[in-house]
């Protein structure tokens, strides 16, 4: 079937909106007299989203030009790198995770290993100097156990 992307998107919106409305039914009301209450506005949001999604189901747009599997692989890899970075920042300090993550991202954008490595190193040290000494943010350069920075 053509124009699948929009149809899938619309179906996903409907499922999420129904879930949203269902979850709104469990909100507890307050004791104050309030003709609207805390549930109605969420119902309206969910309802509007469903109406819009049905419109898209009926009149979907042209298919966007999706990239190939290889590009999706590289984007997925970038997401994994970023998630790893998010977890590494606290225990490992700024310098080492930033050098690795920035280098890997740079390589995903332009596959040139030497430049990626230099980008990683340069960004990690340069940004650390700016953030720590220029802006005075409380960043740790290295894992705290090492006792430097």
């Amino acid at each position: 079937m053509s124009r699948m992307s929009d149809r899938l998107f619309a179906l996903a919106v409907i499922v999420v909106a129904l879930g949203y409305i269902l979850s709104a039914t469990t909100i507890q009301s307050g004791f104050m007299p309030d003709p609207v209450g805390p549930k109605l506005f969420p119902y309206m949001i969910g309802g509007a989203a469903i109406i819009a999604a049905i419109t898209i189901l009926i009149r979907p747009d042209e298919e966007p030009d999706w990239p190939g599997a290889a590009t999706f692989g590289r984007i997925a890899l970038a997401v994994i790198v970023l998630v790893g970075y998010a977890y590494a920042l606290k225990p490992l300090g700024f310098l080492i995770p930033t050098a690795i993550a920035a280098g890997l991202l740079s390589y995903q954008i332009h596959p040139n290993a030497r430049r990626a490595a230099l980008t990683g190193l340069g960004l990690s040290i340069g940004l650390f100097v700016i953030f720590r000494f220029g802006l005075g943010l409380g960043l740790f350069g290295f894992p705290r156990g090492w006792g430097i920075f």
């Binding site: 909106a17 307050g30 506005f41 747009d61 993550a101 991202l105 954008i109 980008t119 340069g122 802006l135």
Partner: protein, 501 residues
Amino acid sequence: METLSLLADGFEIALTPGNLMLAMAGCVLGTIIGALPGLGPSNGVAILIPLAFSLGLDATAALVLMTAVYYGAMYGGRISSILLNIPGDEPALMTTLDGYPMARQGRAGDALVLSGVASFVGAFLATLGLMMLAPWLARIAFKFGPAEYFALYILAFSTLGGIASGNQAKALIATCIGLGIAMIGLDNATGMPRFTFGSMHMMDGIDFLVAIVGLFAVAEVFVFIESHGRESALGVKLGRIRIPWRDIRATFTTMLRATGIGFIAGILPGAGASLGSFLAYMGEKAVAKDKSRFGKGDPRGIAAPEAGNNAAAGGALVPMLTLGVPGSGTTAVLLALLMTLNITPGPTLFTDRPDVVWGLIASLLIANIVLLVLNVPLVKLFVKILMVPPSVLLPGVTMISFVGIYSLSGSSFDLLMMIGFGVMGYFFRKLDVPTVPIILGILLGNNMEDSLRRAMVISGGDWTYLFSSPIAIGLWIAAVLGFMAPMFLRGVLKRPQAITD
């Protein structure tokens, strides 16, 4: 006269050495951000907010810095449009139409200077317009009750979804996503948790900064990974910079007309700078006697969109400051800044915090003059910035985003959420779902619900109360028109694509 004395007070605040330095720094930073392809006013300001916040600047200082960045980015966007045929940001798209051809004819320097002057005229006059119009609108806004505010929010979302997007249904879905996210957390009225699913992280709701940085900055990285970060090579030579007096004189009336159009487009809630530059260009083409040179390097085709988008940037501040309803993606980001600083924009801002308002207006006037100096004699310095390849720039932007969000909360959970918003932003961009309504929804959702609930409390549950005043009815009519108009005007208002070669 009252305006002048208030403005004098404003200059007293803006001319303190600290604020003056921040304004200058903001101008330089903003021009760089605007010039870099892939970074524009909205994501540039977005990634800087957490940092400005961690610096512990006071409200006026932070606002001076960020609006200088905002204006600077509007100026800077033209540099890559003219030299690379890649708009540095969305509003600069129209400048590529005549700017790049002019640069190809060996007149790159003239195009840069002319567009710099046009930006100055647009931004400066719009700031004066803001000064005149905003206090007046603030006085009207005092008459707004909850019913009027509710209608106003509807108007903002419907013009944003109608005029500013290609597909109303998708814009509506984006709005609902934003509003839906805003509901997460404790209910203002009852104090009961909503949609938290028992998670402590969700009790405070989702920080709008996390969503903004994710949707605007992190998503950009994925877009660049897909495009392989096409290396941007300067295809045109930039010789000695001279001031093309003849072109400036010839296009002066063009600039004035474009400023008027841009300013009005900026004031309309939800329309913003892209629409301003587009309408200014189309309007100029419509009144020109000789249309044959448009698209081939006509100076009017450079002056009009640049004056238009910079005037719209100033105009967009009017509804943002007086009503708390932003007119564009970037002013939505500036609204986020105000909320972070605990300032509630709206009519009371003008009476309660005149120092903030007039200090801001004075620093905008100063910033404009600084920007004219930076962008005309010193433009060659900024051209060097275009040499930064995306494979260095985008990782840098990502790391700054991470540090910014991390320094706000110190939680990995927010960083993960930001990555999630980044992925969502990438897919939405592919599907042509606009992301600005999401941001606006998150920012305004709670206020919108509050105004509805307060209106219903006042009226005892009578829904006709929402349409009971002339102002409210006018806003509802404007909302319906704003949403429906594009359906009929789509043929007329077709956005031209950037020329490719």
